[in-house]
């Protein structure tokens, strides 16, 4: 007895599957185009030769390196307002030191919360969570005056060396870093405690356990923390704007790029240069990010999600 398998070809499993797959490919392609379009537009503008401002059409007519030249020589305004290289170095220095300090602080803090048990631990964690709920820059104005009070920022019209501003930024970024402890803490939580206990039986102190056992096991999260704290200062606009105000030599790359588009009378001359500058800083960040993608996924899902 033959069971009738006369199912129409349109309802067969295999056809349904390939239909679904084809639809998915189409959707993904369209989405990729949409997602890549602004990137393409940015890059194409960075190589646009004809007009340094915004033009009423999408694709460049003349391809050249002109925008990059403008970026590094600033031939429009003699006062040397576009200090791209200075901004780049400022941000780089701030990023490196912030990375070092923040990583140390965050890892130690999350270790304390994850591994050590002491009175007030839960209360401290709740307190930090509550502190994090205030809008970030509500404290910025006060921080500005605190920094003035301890002498880092100029009290009067006299200037201070650029290094003061950079130091101020490093302090501010690293100072609040401990509040971002929960991702690393979540990761430490997943390391089995029996290793710690075995080491303690052998007579190791907690500090030794941290340094010799926990850290080597946590390479992904260390890298994740280091890279995120490195990438932070590159994108920050508000803090830098508040602290450095008009002192252009102390600006970060974000502040400078913002000025190129929004400063009075600037966009007509600097739009393509803006795109060029944006492309330049995006390259190292993209590289870092792709490298970090592995650690990012395991860090986010291993840490934050499990609470």
């Amino acid at each position: 007895m033959k069971t009738s398998n006369k199912v129409s070809i349109f309802k067969s499993q295999k056809f349904r599957n390939s239909l679904a797959n084809t639809t998915i490919y189409v959707v993904l392609t369209i989405m990729s185009l949409i997602w890549l379009f602004p990137v393409v537009w940015l890059v194409s503008n960075a190589f646009r030769g004809e007009d340094p401002g915004v033009v009423p059409y999408l694709f460049p007519k003349v391809w050249s390196f002109e925008p990059f030249k403008i970026l590094f020589t600033d031939r429009f305004i003699e006062s040397g307002q576009i200090k791209y290289l200075t901004w780049f170095f400022n941000t780089f220095i701030v990023a490196v030191f912030t990375m070092i300090l923040s990583t140390v602080v965050v890892l130690l803090t999350s270790y304390a919360f994850s591994r050590l048990r002491f009175k007030g631990r839960k209360m401290l964690m709740k307190l930090l969570m509550i502190l994090g709920m205030f809008p970030g820059f509500m404290s910025m104005i006060a921080v500005y005056f605190i920094l003035k009070g301890i002498g880092l920022l100029p009290q009067s019209t006299e200037g201070v060396p650029v290094s003061n501003y950079l130091l101020a930024l490093i302090l501010v970024y690293s100072g609040g870093a401990a509040m971002g402890y929960f991702v690393s803490k979540g990761y430490f939580d997943t390391i089995s405690k029996s290793i710690d206990e075995a080491a303690m039986i052998d007579g190791a102190s907690r500090a030794q356990i941290f340094w010799h056992i926990t850290l080597p096991l946590s390479k992904p999260i260390v890298i994740y923390t280091a890279l995120t704290s490195f990438m932070g200062p590159w994108g920050d606009y508000i803090f830098v704007a508040t602290i450095t105000k008009g002192e252009q030599s102390a600006w970060s790359i974000a502040r400078g790029l913002y000025e190129m588009l929004n400063g009075v009378g600037m966009i007509g001359n600097y739009f393509t240069a803006f795109c060029a500058g944006a492309v330049l800083i995006s390259i190292p960040i993209v590289a870092l990010f792709i490298f970090m993608q592995k650690f990012y996924v395991s860090g986010i899902t291993g840490g934050a999600v499990k609470g």
Binding site: N17, L28, P38, V55, P56, L131, V286, L288
Partner: protein, 519 residues
């Protein structure tokens, strides 16, 4: 025999039905939330009441303990009530004791030096009485010729008084904590000696700090920095909400003073402010909801699509999306703003191609701007959510699906009964954080629209895409209004909203209570 759930459903109706089901469940879940909110109000009231009582009890117990320790203490312990560290260096712990003594001296130096702690703190209650002014009449000194020389006298600076005075209060608090701790330590030493035990010397204490008391060593520096750069500024800004600090009452020319809850009244009732506040709060929530869930669902769908068996080039698709994350957010947002401008390239090009006659006003009308902002936010956020959900999807144990398939479940049922509950459970906290984050999502709105288009009804007091945070910015630092006091009141409101929502949402998510189960 046919399966319960129709396995012959093609892809898209299946997706639609799944979404509808999810919406239904979501509605029920929302109802539970409303009930929880009611309970939360009640709980807050009870909590506040208990808190006050607890503080009262705490003070009483502290006083009792201090008196007890004094009566039971010998002369060395009693001396520590006046001289820091006596309980230590008089019993052989020289270094520890001297350290405490140095701290005590340092504190008093700080307090009493010119321009020191007391100089600022004493004026906290009035926030200054002397305005910067030019001397008149008899105040003027006479120069060598007998002519009056009237100088400008620098008056009090209300802001610095508040700031430095507050800093002094905090430092005094720290001092008080150390005071208590060394008294306790002195008494503990006394008891130890009585039992015949030896007191740890300095070297042993250091070893302790690296072992059982490691947390003290680790957390000490972050505590100080967080206090200086987070807590102190926050308290300062909170206190500002109770003053009248704005453009007209600004140092160094003028003073501002305490005004109680007046500023809050202005925030909610002032001309234009009442419209502004209600409109902005509504939009903030609408925005946060759509921004969070559009990104989450879209990200999950994309992740599912890429992860599906039989789809090739998985890495390629993922890289495309990840590439867009790597470009700094402010760059892409500023770019989009120019691109979508009424006179910008996109409109111009579309006109040139004959697709449209008049510019599409992406960002210049209220409804359009709001829609555009949500869409652009998806462009920014979907790669993230795709990555996050991707990682979790891969962690779902495959045998769950296997057994479901053997039992004859369709892909729809599998998604509905396995994938979705698992995702919601694991990403619960993430969603809450994302929701609250979007309430305060300054960057996207600020760089895309600056909060605009400006609301004409209130004369530009706020913009139609303004969130509470962006409005805060334009009220204080960003614009010419300089309404710092109102800004602070607004900031407090934002905090209350965020904190309240967190409380409500967290208490409904099981995951947050399972911290120790994972260890």
């Amino acid at each position: 025999m046919t399966n319960k759930n129709n396995p012959k459903m093609p892809f898209f109706p299946w997706l639609l039905e799944g979404l509808l089901e999810s919406l239904k469940r979501f509605g029920l879940w929302l109802l539970e939330i409303v009930i929880t909110i009611g309970k939360a109000f009640l709980n807050i009231g009870i909590f506040a009441y208990k808190g006050v009582i607890a503080i009262g009890k705490g003070i009483y117990r502290w006083a009792k303990r201090m008196i007890e320790t004094f009566t039971k203490g010998d002369w060395k312990t009693r001396l520590s009530y006046a001289v820091f560290g006596s309980g230590y260096f008089l019993r052989g712990q020289i270094i520890k004791g001297i350290l405490h003594l140095v701290l005590q001296v340092a504190f008093f130096v700080f307090l009493l030096m010119p321009n020191g702690g007391w100089f600022w703190a004493r004026k906290l209650l009035t926030l200054g009485d002397v305005v910067t002014h030019v001397q008149t009449g008899d105040e003027c000194q006479l120069d060598n010729f007998g002519n009056p020389v009237c100088q400008t006298v620098l008056g009090d600076n209300s802001m610095l008084i508040l700031l430095y005075g507050l800093a002094t209060v905090f430092i005094a608090l720290g001092f008080w904590l150390i005071y208590n701790s060394q008294i306790k330590g002195a008494y503990k030493n006394q008891l130890l000696l009585k039992e015949g035990k030896k007191l740890p010397n300095f070297k042993q204490e250091v070893v302790e700090l690296l072992d059982n008391r490691f947390h003290v060593t680790i957390l000490s520096i972050p505590t100080v920095t967080i206090f200086t750069f987070t807590v102190l500024p926050l308290v300062f800004m909170i206190l500002l909400a109770f003053t009248n600090f704005n453009k007209d009452n600004q140092p160094p020319g003028n003073l501002f003073s305490w005004t109680g809850f007046d500023t809050f009244g202005n925030l909610f009732g002032g001309v234009g402010y009442s419209t502004a506040i209600t409109s902005i709060i509504q939009w903030t929530f609408v925005w946060a909801f759509f921004a969070t869930f559009s990104n989450y669902i879209a990200g999950m769908i994309v992740a599912l699509m890429i992860n599906k068996k039989g789809i090739k080039l998985k890495k390629l698709w993922r890289t495309v999306f990840v590439l867009t994350i790597a470009i700094p957010q402010f760059v892409t947002l500023m770019l989009m703003r120019r691109l979508l401008d009424d006179n910008g390239p996109l409109n111009a090009q579309l006109k040139a191609w004959g697709w449209i006659e008049q510019s599409i006003r992406f960002l210049s009308t209220k409804q359009n701007a709001r829609l555009t902002v949500i869409l652009i936010n998806m462009w920014v956020g979907v790669p993230y959510t795709m990555l996050v959900t991707s990682g979790i999807l891969m962690n779902i144990p495959g045998d769950l699906y296997e057994s479901a398939r053997i039992d004859g479940a369709s892909p729809f049922t599998q998604f509905w009964k396995i994938t979705l509950p698992y995702m919601l459970f694991v990403t619960g906290p993430y969603l809450i954080t994302a929701f609250i984050g979007n309430i305060n999502n300054f960057n996207v709105i600020f760089f895309l629209t600056g909060g605009g288009p400006a609301n004409t009804a209130t004369g530009g007091l706020f913009g139609d895409t303004d969130l509470l945070v962006t409005w805060l910015y334009s009220l204080t630092v960003g614009g010419a209004r300089q309404e710092y006091a109102i800004g602070s009141a607004l900031g407090i409101l934002i905090f209350i909203i965020s904190a309240f929502i967190s409380l409500v949402l967290y208490s409904r998510t099981a995951a947050s209570q399972r911290e120790d189960e994972f260890q």
